[in-house]
Symmetry: C2
Subunit: 379 residues, 2 copies
């Protein structure tokens, strides 16, 4: 465990857990949801509003930042916290996932990955050592190892090859990280597709190396939710109970309930902001598509009891209008509303776990979603 | 004068004036700048941030709102203030200017204007009576007469025809407005292009009808700034000193200084938000183009002494990055910064007029703009 990062498990074993993750920039209550500020910006949401939603940690993307403005530029400006004026914890990914999803041309070799930048077409090399160096220059509170992340479905042999390569990269990342005497933490990433045996081997390999926390990568990459949850249930028992577990890139509110039930502590996802920009609101009454004409004359707010002013103060008719005519503030307000809802959900889960009511909480939340239309009509 | 609107001239005659405009939704200190919320939204800026910038009144566009969501819809939802959750004064234009600038196909006749909607191609008729009815349904604090606004340069005969038509429409608007017993005010609009004789005839015609305030329209439509200011200087003496004067659609900070010096009390313009979205910041040091590569490594804020948190807290390097990579928050922050700067400028002018220092104030402001680069380097 790095000096300045520690995890305290307050409650729970393999099932829903409650914890505190201390980092150089503050403590994060878990289960935690990390909004995604890919390019050192939260799309459509000002940082003070991200904070006001209850977020205690955000994620930034190494891949994007290494291309623009460059890790060296950010380091010269005092690091990522100062650059984007966010003084709470930041987790950075390693760039591996974006290389897979954004670069048309890429070549994975033992040394690392070479890819063509989606920005200017330049050829860029990313090794495990460079991924760590970049995250260290950014001043990350929690850095991630470089891994190779496949889309599912994939052939068994391919899944195993990528998992084994990721393990070898994990060793190199750990060595590079330790050499920098960082203040933050380094997490390993479990790979292995939907194969329980490979997942467990990956987890064991990472535990043998020894990380500050463990992420589950390579899920929510095309497989059904049931496969993702089953894979999680087979993976988390192989991870040390006393260290934080992070499910990368997940997910919908329902995904998060399911993953917390299977022992996950941390999440990140672009859904609240991306879907907000496309007119979708996440609420206690389920996901509401504001593009729908039925909202055009509806004077009710999205949720009169929300902690988010925008969810209380603006009518559905107004939000519908903004989305319909393409006003920026439509996406801005819905992104803010969604970030609030995600954090409300996490807060609710934490309180429920503390009170040994997690299953009841999930049932009540899901009932609220399923009864959405009734609630709405009665509202 | 309508019952609920009154103007108190605190200082000034033909040159820079200081006043208070009382409306059903509060009092506006003049000279005042009205940010433009065309479609019942301020592009890229949340309403609480518009308020925080110091804006005491905003403008909304009848043309856009009559098309979407429709005046009847907004009225059914409790009026425009409630619809967009803004409880300070709102001025609505009459739609005439947008018919000219946005509709490819339009036909101006004595009865009114018929145009093809830029949204769905529908044929829409707008008469003086309908323009008033719509603004009344919106619940406007200050409504505008329907006028015909030409682009300059235009032929003399055409300018005179449009001016005379606008005067006849003014009579019909006044009659329609009085019939509705509204709580707000109705302003007439002086037309007449860059012809002093026509401007004065238009002003006299409007004064004979009798309005709560007088706008100068048909400027900033293609003519040089010097022509606009000369026309203003020939127009404002023909308007009653004890009533507010509004220069429509103007302008740059320098335009506003020049127009206040010629006796104008109110302004509206999309420049602070539109140019903000395009990477331009208005500051005490002049207009700064954040796209410029010279900002890429600049750790200084735009203005450490600004009342706007975004202008103080984010580095030029960060704003440059956001603009460069196309993050929404770049335009959002610069729009907010620009709205603050415009309001700062208006506050400065009001204080200067109160202290009989208006000319000195203008000279100092212009010196700051011209010395921008020196100040910036010394900063």
């Amino acid at each position: 465990m790095a000096n300045h990062v520690s995890f305290r498990l307050i409650r729970g074993g393999l099932a829903a857990r409650l914890g505190d993750l201390s980092t150089p920039h503050g403590t994060v209550a878990t289960p935690a949801f990390m909004p995604v500020g890919t390019q050192a910006a939260m799309k459509g949401v000002h940082w003070p509003d991200v904070r006001a939603s209850g977020a205690e940690i955000v994620l930034a993307n190494t891949y994007h930042l290494m291309l623009r403005p460059g890790a060296e530029s950010i380091a010269a400006l005092g690091g990522l916290h100062r650059f984007m004026h966010w003084d709470l914890p930041i987790l950075t990914d390693s760039g591996g996932f974006q290389v897979m999803s954004l670069s048309a041309l890429r070549q994975v070799e033992e040394t690392g990955v070479t890819f063509r930048s989606h920005v200017d077409g330049a050829i860029v090399a990313l090794t495990p050592e460079r991924a760590i160096e970049i995250q260290h220059m950014l001043g990350s509170d929690i850095a991630m190892q470089l891994d190779e992340c496949l889309k599912l479905p994939a052939a068994d042999a391919e899944i195993e090859r990528a998992m084994q390569l990721s393990l070898r990269w994990a060793v190199r990342c750990k060595r590079a990280w330790d050499g920098l005497a960082p203040r933050g933490a380094l997490f390993g990433i479990v790979q292995g597709g939907d194969d329980a045996r490979l997942r467990q081997a990956s987890a064991q390999g990472l535990v043998d190396i020894g990380f500050d926390g463990y992420a589950v990568g390579g899920l929510a990459v095309g497989e059904p939710q049931a496969v993702m949850l089953a894979t999680l249930a087979e993976t988390t028992p192989a991870l040390p109970a006393e260290q934080p577990r992070y499910l990368m890139g997940v997910g919908t509110p329902d995904d998060i309930l399911g993953a917390v039930a299977r022992g996950i502590d941390m999440f990140d996802c672009v859904l609240p902001t991306r879907n907000g920009r496309h007119g979708l609101a996440y609420t206690r009454f389920g996901a509401i598509n504001l593009r729908n004409a039925r909202h055009a004359h509806d004077p009710r707010p999205l949720d009169a009891q929300s902690a988010c002013p925008a969810a209380r103060e603006y009518s559905r008719a107004y939000l519908h209008h903004l989305v319909k005519v393409g006003e920026m503030t439509g996406g801005m307000l819905l992104s803010m509303i969604n970030l609030h809802y995600y954090q409300d959900l996490m807060r609710g889960m934490r309180a429920a776990i503390a009170g040994d009511q997690f299953a009841e909480f999930c049932a009540a939340v899901r009932l609220g979603w399923s009864r959405g239309d009734i609630e709405e009509c009665a509202g």
